[in-house]
Structure formats: structure tokens, C-alpha cells
């Protein structure tokens, strides 16, 4: 539950873009499934950060939306691709992966060949798209 810090990263990026002269109409924050960010806690944090950004530094954006992206994995050894629906992460390891998604390589394998040499193709964690 360090969603505040993740929201802070988004707010700092928006701040830098606006201060560099970019007119930011809309911010889309994509939450990748693997990191399992708590959307509500994140939303409240980002709202607070953006409002203080407006109040204290006069930096404002049109608005933001939060979307979700399914996780997709691809094995470098056998080429298999799969999702968390097909092969979940055990409960006890989710917190480590929540803080550092790459920790998934210590706890999770390709369901087809068992290798830990795979790519997180999609849905790793927080991404920001700006319009």
C-alpha cells in the first residue's frame, strides 16, 4: 500500500510537463494488473496531489482517468504466452510483486516449461499517457 508514492510519481511528471510549457488536457493512468495497485487509494492520492499542485504552484491539468491493463507474459525459452487468469501468482508473493513487479521472476514460472526467463509483455504496473 504505497499508492501515495506511485501517485506522487504521476503528479511530478505532470508538473514537469506543464512547467515545460506543455498544455496537458488529459492524463490517463493505466494500472497494470501485475502490480495490483489499489485503484481507490491511488485515485484519492492523485486527486489530493493534483489539487495541491494547482493550489500551491498554479499547475493544473484538464482531468485524469484510471484504466486497467491485463497482464500478459511470454516465455523466452518455449515461446508460450499466458495471463494471470490462466496461471495465478500465489497469495503470499503478491506483496513483494506489488512493491517491485520484477520480483515476479523469483516466484512465478512459465506454466508450459517451468522457466523463469520470461518477459512481462503487458500489464506490469503504472503507466502514464498524456493528451
Amino acid at each position: 500500500m504505497h499508492e501515495w508514492a506511485l501517485a506522487e510519481a504521476v503528479a511530478r511528471t505532470v508538473e514537469e510537463l506543464v512547467l515545460s510549457g506543455r498544455d496537458v488536457k488529459h492524463v490517463e493512468v493505466v494500472l497494470g494488473e501485475l502490480q495490483a495497485v489499489d485503484e481507490e487509494v491511488f485515485r484519492v492520492a492523485l486527486e489530493e496531489l493534483l489539487s495541491s499542485l494547482r493550489a500551491e504552484k498554479g499547475v493544473s491539468v484538464g482531468g485524469f482517468t484510471i484504466t486497467r491493463e491485463k497482464a500478459l507474459f511470454k516465455c523466452n525459452v518455449c515461446g508460450h504466452t499466458w495471463s494471470l487468469d490462466e496461471w495465478g501468482v500465489a497469495e503470499e508473493f503478491r506483496e513483494a510483486i506489488h512493491f517491485v513487479p520484477e520480483a515476479v521472476h523469483s516466484y512465478y514460472s512459465c506454466p508450459k516449461c517451468g522457466s523463469r526467463d520470461f518477459e512481462i509483455v503487458k500489464g506490469r504496473g503504472v503507466q502514464v499517457r498524456v493528451r
Partner: protein, 213 residues
């Protein structure tokens, strides 16, 4: 590197640190972890607020050298992540708290992503950050130097032929990059003159081999 939404926050996190000291050598086993740990304890005990980052993500061992048990100590979560308190003035952050003794096989781009994530969420309360680097001149060291260009690198070198050529390489590399070097610590050497001749540089110190270490 494409724009990464974590970059501005990483800059802010690192800006609170006065000096970043990567302890590095492309050669393995010359004493990076030992010297980084000893240096950080010395700094802490002389009153300097010191942080240690274990950058050897695929084989973290700094916590063992600092006597921190990753099973009982976890970084606290408070508007981010707080490094683990080792002793007064000394805090440690690394992936071992998340992966423990398990293997963490990572391709280079994953090392970069993990490093950016750690540097974005970690809230240091230190003035000096000692970075225990993995061997090699690859993603971990390159990305750390990219994110903290004002780093001052402490190069650790043993005195055998393999180490000397390795030390010459990283000194040349750091010169090309325009990254500052604190100097070379000669470690486990019977006699440091060989190193001086080979490198044309006087070691900052000549740490002997301690039998019982």
C-alpha cells in the same frame, strides 16, 4: 531512454542525498560488498546519515555482510517505502527484502525497470548513499550512473592480474563517461606497489586480507 513517468520523482528522491558513492568493479569477488559495508558502517558511526543500496539485484548479499536478516526486517510502508534501519545513522534498501534467498533471474531491461521502481518509491533519510554494485559493466551500473550522474565512484581492486586489467577498464570507462572517481581501494593485497605501477594511480588505501573475515 523513453520518457519514464518515474524520472522526475527519482530526481527528487536523489536530490535529498548529498553524495552518491557507487562501490564498483567489473570484476567479481574483489571486495565491493565488503568495502561498501565497512565504509557505510564507518560513516554511520562517525555521525554521517548513511544509506546503502544493494544494486546486485540478481544476487543480493549486502544484507548478510551488514548482519540484516531479511526474514525479520522489512522496509516499512509510509507514503512510499522506508529503507530498513540497520543501526543509528545506517539504513539499507535492496531487493533481498522482497526475494530473500531465492534466485532472481533478470534480463537487463528488467534490472533497469526494478531500479527505477526502487529509486522512485524509496524515501531515503541519508546524506550519503553507498551503492554496492554488482560485477560487470552492464545495466545495473550503467543505469545507476545515468540516474545519478553526479555520483563519485569508489573503485575496489584486488592486486592480481585479472583484477588489475578489470580496474584499468572501469577507470577508463568512468573517464569516458565523465563520471567522478573518488579513487581506488586496494583490497586483499599483500603489497600495493604492483597496483600503483599497473594503474599509475596511488590507492586511497591498502586493505589487507583478514583471515577470519
Amino acid at each position: 531512454m523513453e520518457l519514464d513517468f518515474r524520472a522526475p520523482l527519482i530526481r527528487e528522491r536523489l536530490s535529498s542525498i548529498k553524495l552518491v558513492v557507487p562501490v564498483a568493479s567489473p570484476k567479481g569477488g574483489v571486495g565491493k560488498t565488503t568495502i561498501a559495508s565497512a565504509l557505510s558502517v564507518l560513516l554511520a558511526r562517525s555521525g554521517v546519515k548513511t544509506g546503502v543500496l544493494d544494486l546486485d539485484f540478481t544476487n543480493p548479499t549486502t544484507h548478510i555482510m551488514l548482519g540484516v536478516d531479511t526474514a525479520s526486517a522489512m522496509p516499512e510502508e509510509e507514503k512510499g517505502v522506508l529503507p530498513v534501519r540497520v543501526e543509528e545513522n545506517l539504513e539499507l534498501m535492496g531487493l533481498a527484502f522482497y526475494t530473500r534467498d531465492r534466485p532472481l533471474p533478470l534480463r537487463g531491461h528488467s534490472v533497469v525497470d526494478a531500479l527505477r521502481e526502487v529509486l522512485a518509491i524509496t524515501r531515503w533519510s541519508s546524506t550519503v548513499l553507498v551503492v554496492d554494485s554488482p560485477p560487470g559493466l552492464s545495466d545495473a551500473l550503467l543505469e545507476m550512473l545515468r540516474l545519478a550522474r553526479g555520483s563519485r565512484v569508489l573503485v575496489v581492486s584486488a592486486c592480481d592480474k585479472l583484477s588489475l586489467v578489470s580496474t584499468k577498464r572501469i577507470l577508463e570507462f568512468l573517464e569516458h563517461e565523465g563520471v567522478a572517481v573518488l579513487g581506488v581501494v586496494a583490497n586483499m593485497c599483500k603489497d600495493c606497489r604492483g597496483l600503483e605501477e599497473a594503474l599509475g594511480v596511488k590507492p586511497l588505501d591498502c586493505v589487507p586480507r583478514f583471515e577470519q573475515l
